[in-house]
Symmetry: C2
Amino acid sequence: MEHEWNANQPIYRQLRGRIVEMILDHVLEEGDPLPSVRNVAAEYRVNPLTVLKAYQQLADDNIVEKRRGLGMFVNAGARQLLFEAERQRFLAEEWPAISVTIERLGLTPADLLAASRSKEQ
Amino acid sequence: MEHEWNANQPIYRQLRGRIVEMILDHVLEEGDPLPSVRNVAAEYRVNPLTVLKAYQQLADDNIVEKRRGLGMFVNAGARQLLFEAERQRFLAEEWPAISVTIERLGLTPADLLAASRSKEQ
DNA sequence: TGTAGTGTTATAGCTATATAGAACACGACA
DNA sequence: TGTCGTGTTCTATATAGCTATAACACTACA
């Protein structure tokens, strides 16, 4: 997990996004415990309450389950749930504006491919 | 210009984005006046200081020029400046994450095309 | 000179986000 | 029983974003 936060979104929202990515990318499997609130707070230099807020939203969405004294765990079926939810959200809320931006800026598939590859290095 | 703000970004930043789009799309030509601070504030139900903040950033970036008592005007060369700046910013800051998301969600060009077209209706 | 537009500055208050530190409650284990 | 992990709650402070309202300064025009 990257260590840096940007200023475009609240930290708790970026953190939630990263947990979502870890689940979708099989870094976290169903049944796995999430990194503890204290560990994440210490490692990424944020307030435990900020971490808790991110985790709380995941619990509200039925992605994780909190077990007091034990930790938080990825729910069964969480990946499928996220996959479908993120897909719909991306197609409905993000892609339309991205598509318009790509056209407006005259970006070709070659431009986009080159930009994707240069970042992989 | 759309009338609704989302909660993902501060209003002043969304407003700045819309002015940028209007310039890139030739809705605003170089030399044109921007809608006045009061007009935008009234029409979109935001505080004049919020509008001013968006406009101030455009002035800081040499996109517009403020003329007290007269209005704000799109600078000569602003479109080219924006076009290049937005292109670079999009390719460097936005596209890499978008690309990863598209791959992660298993979205095909057909999925994306369908989503673009359904929004056009 | 007065009016009607423009930008600009000031004061004040509220909400959201984030921080800091501490302590409480639970569960597993030695 | 005590320890060490976990989640959870509490109090307090600071900053950013946004709101509301008002007034000041500039410009063009009748």
